[in-house]
């Protein structure tokens, strides 16, 4: 296989994996803390991308400012959707399918409102206006400023989120809620408040991820919807509730969709049109044969490490 | 003759040995009590027998036949029926439907026969009559058309007992048949159990915390503690046993 293709697919895996990680972390947060498989997460991603796009067309070309704006808008929409849709439904103690259906419905509404607007203002398949600069070039690889935005920004956000979850009170409260809701309440964790923060984080991260997605590829109102099942695949690989597992899962999905796909294409002649099936196959295999995802492995490592520490 | 025999049955959940090396015998036609403090493994033992949580090791014999490898529904088919501690009725179904569900070999339960009334009509009618008689005896006949969730706590327990009987059992494993029931009704439930033993020759294994009632009705008792059988004997022997007093009162 030509080195160019190899390296290119690896770079893309890294890029896509980082963005999937951002998206999937939000999804895992709502799943673990609020116990809701939020399919409307897809539209938060799209929304973020469009906020960035519109901002760039209006002349905002500071990327950082753009990302902050996206974060704020999508976080607001996420909080609003919780307040207006999910919270009133939850009072009736509905079945999980009711909640899934509601998230589908909300996603549908958001998606087609976007469609309406995008159609009206002619924003189909546009890219965010960021001047392209080549920062590194060799025979086999071209790295642009976009690569240096997408991957490091995602990594920084992932690290920030991990710090938040592991070293702040809010993070501990979130994990406590995810672990044992009744005990968390007994310990005085204000469930509503933590929920709002969870939605802010999940929504904001989705928005930022969408915006980053939109600077290296063109976007349309289906962007998030087309990505959401890959994002679910990352979450499923993470065992649905583990944050570290989700990050790993995201990179695994990114690699399989790009690098592994490239290999399959090159050596087995598999057509690229089958690419979207890869995350789906991951979801099915993991859920059927290893529903705890990658987490089991990691717990195993940790336990062994701790045993070694405690019983030398 | 022993109807149900357990030999060295063990069941663990992770590190927790919920049931450890339990052997016991339930003779035919007897009412046997199973007592012990919370968490001593009584409910787990019932789950093991009914294969909801199959045993890790040991043998379970029912009428001399090994059933440890059988599935839950097959065990029911052999005539070994269990009830649950929490009311486990189908709350969104009527009392009558709850009682009719366990009837065995229902022709109308096959999807290719179900759409044709005449294929199962007679059987259904016969089952309905039997159910009607049983519900009458249990004093809930008049609620036949009510949803199970609309019954009172005591009536739920009665319906559960009735439902177990509709499966034509030989041995009933009852998990706290009087939990959450007023004392007077609890006594009624046990009187019904005794009557069924007399009239139908049924055998009972009963987990119960209301010792004052239980002791008046059982033939003998097994005492469980920390997953093991501590001792067995008649009510008189059990109440005289110092080890039993210890686990119940503290030493």
């Amino acid at each position: 296989m030509p080195t160019v293709l190899l390296i290119d697919s690896l770079v893309r895996s890294l890029q896509v994996g980082s963005l999937y990680a951002l998206m999937a972390l939000g999804l895992t947060l709502t799943l673990a803390v609020v116990k809701l498989p939020n399919f409307a997460h897809a539209e938060l991603i799209t929304l973020g991308a469009y906020v960035a796009l519109v901002a760039s067309f209006w002349g905002l070309n500071n990327l950082l400012a753009m990302l902050v704006l996206c974060f704020i808008v999508t976080a607001a929409v996420a909080v609003l959707s919780y307040k207006a849709v999910y919270k009133p439904l939850e009072r009736r103690k509905p079945s999980i399918y009711t909640m899934i259906l509601a998230s589908f419905a909300l996603g549908l509404i958001l998606r087609y409102v976007l469609f309406l607007l995008v159609d009206r203002f002619d924003f189909f398949d546009k890219r965010i206006k960021i001047p392209l600069e080549i920062w590194y070039q060799s025979k086999t690889m071209i790295l642009t400023n976009i690569f240096f935005w997408v991957v490091p920004t995602s990594l920084i956000l992932i690290i920030l989120l991990s710090l938040l979850l592991n070293y702040t009170n809010l993070g501990r409260e979130m994990r406590a809620l995810a672990d044992n809701r009744a005990l968390a309440r007994v310990q005085g964790v204000q469930v509503e408040r933590v929920y709002y923060f969870t939605w802010i984080l999940a929504g904001g991260l989705a928005g930022v991820a969408g915006a980053l997605w939109g600077i290296y590829t063109s976007i349309n109102p289906l962007t998030g919807w087309l990505a959401i099942l890959s994002v679910f695949a990352a979450t499923v690989l993470g065992g649905m509730t583990s944050f570290v597992g989700t990050i790993l899962g995201a990179y695994v999905v990114g690699l399989s969709e790009n690098f592994v796909m490239q290999l399959l294409n090159h050596y087995l002649g598999l057509d690229f049109s089958f690419k979207p099936a890869i995350p789906f196959i991951i979801i099915i295999l993991v859920l059927l044969f290893r529903p705890q995802g990658l987490t089991g492995f990691m717990d195993g490592f940790r336990t062994r490490a701790i045993r070694r520490q405690t019983n030398p | 003759m022993s109807l149900l025999t357990l030999e060295h049955v063990t069941k663990s959940f992770g590190n927790l040995r919920a049931v450890h090396d339990v052997s016991l015998e339930i003779p035919k036609g007897k009412i046997i009590g199973l007592i012990g403090p919370n968490g001593s493994g009584k409910s787990t033992l019932l789950n093991v027998i009914s294969a909801l949580n199959p045993a890790d090791s040991g043998r379970i014999l029912f009428e001399g036949e090994e059933i440890s490898k059988r599935s839950t529904d097959e065990i029911f088919g052999l005539g070994l029926v269990r009830s649950f501690q929490d009311p486990s009725l189908f709350f969104k179904m009527t009392v009558l439907d709850n009682s009719l569900l366990p009837v065995k070999q229902q022709q109308g339960e096959k999807p290719w026969r179900a759409p044709f009334h005449h294929l199962w009509r007679k059987q259904e009618a016969a089952a309905a009559l039997e159910s009607s008689r049983l519900l009458e005896q249990l004093l809930i006949r008049k609620h036949y058309d009510a949803l199970a969730s609309d019954l009172s706590g005591g009536q739920m327990k009665l319906l559960e007992l009735g439902r177990s009987l509709m499966g034509n059992p030989k041995l009933l494993l009852l998990d706290e048949p009087t939990a959450g029931v007023a004392p007077k009704l609890a006594y009624t439930i046990f009187e019904n159990i005794a009557q069924m033993r007399e009239n139908l020759g049924l055998t009972f294994l009963i987990v119960e915390h209301r010792l004052e009632i239980l002791f008046d009705f059982v033939d003998s008792l097994y005492v469980m503690h920390m997953g093991q059988v501590l001792t067995e004997g008649s009510p008189a022997e059990i109440s005289a046993n110092s080890a039993v007093r210890e686990i119940y009162f503290g030493e």
Binding site: V186, T310 | P37, N38, L211, F215, D216, A236, S239
Partner: protein
């Protein structure tokens, strides 16, 4: 002085009424036992105080303030702490994170000091700091659960069967620890099935039967009184109670 007053409490789950018109009071500084056979409503009582059951009527007051209707998550602010019987720790978090969660309201230096105090009181937890709490043994988990409650600096701690499933040695250790907590000024309400071992440590006890108060008295009174022992087991005038009394 009464710290906690429960007045004519009727409570249960959904349609099931478990406590009937129950009244009792807890005095400040007391080490109180709630005894009774399985299914007598002991656990339901402590859960009701923490708003985890359906309360049909009656009142629960702490220092004169009503608790019925207060959301579970706001009850610890009133100076109460609760150690449930099962699932009483955050199993997927490390021991340290469990403890840090409990002291999250404190400023950093104070929180640090509180943690050191906890490690002094529960030395085993210091050793296990970085371990995932779910991987600890039953006794260690119980220690952590008590530490979680204790770190909230409560006036009154309610414990649901702290000795359940523990080895005899650990049971003694837990009761000793509770005694020390009580001496440090915390009022304790301990629900136990294992009556005699608790009665050795507590000052006063209520005995429940079928959701009602069957008997109350100081521990020595209860231990001395055969009638109470009978009523504790829930054996009324049947053959069994006569035999047991012999």
């Amino acid at each position: 002085m009464n710290l906690l007053t429960i007045d004519k409490l009727t409570a249960g789950y959904g349609k099931l009424t478990i406590l009937h018109d129950l009244s009792l009071k807890v005095e400040k500084g007391q080490y109180l036992g709630i005894l009774g056979p399985n299914g007598s409503g002991k656990s339901t009582l402590v859960k009701s105080i923490f708003g985890l059951t359906d309360i049909f009527s009656g009142s629960i007051k702490i220092s004169g303030q009503e608790l019925v209707g207060v959301a579970t998550e706001n009850i610890c602010k009133r100076g109460l702490a609760y150690v449930p019987q099962r699932q009483n720790i955050f199993a997927t978090m490390t021991v340290r994170d469990n403890l840090l969660l409990a002291v999250r309201h404190l400023r950093r230096p104070k929180a640090h000091r509180a943690l050191q105090d906890a490690y002094a009181l529960f030395p085993i937890l210091a050793e296990r700091q970085q371990q995932s709490a779910g991987l600890m043994s039953g006794g260690e988990r119980q220690m952590l659960a008590i530490a979680l409650a204790w770190l909230g600096k409560p006036q009154i701690m309610l414990l649901d069967e702290p000795s359940a499933g523990l080895s005899p040695l650990f049971v003694i250790e837990i009761f000793k620890l509770l005694r020390r907590l009580c001496e440090s000024g915390i009022t304790l309400v301990v629900v136990e099935q294992n009556a005699r071992s608790l009665l050795r440590w507590c000052d006063y006890a209520y005995v429940l039967r079928e959701g009602k108060l069957a008997f109350e008295g100081s521990s020595s009174q209860i231990l001395a009184d055969e009638e109470t022992v009978k009523s504790y087991l829930g054996v009324g005038g049947t053959a069994f109670s006569q035999r047991i009394a012999e």
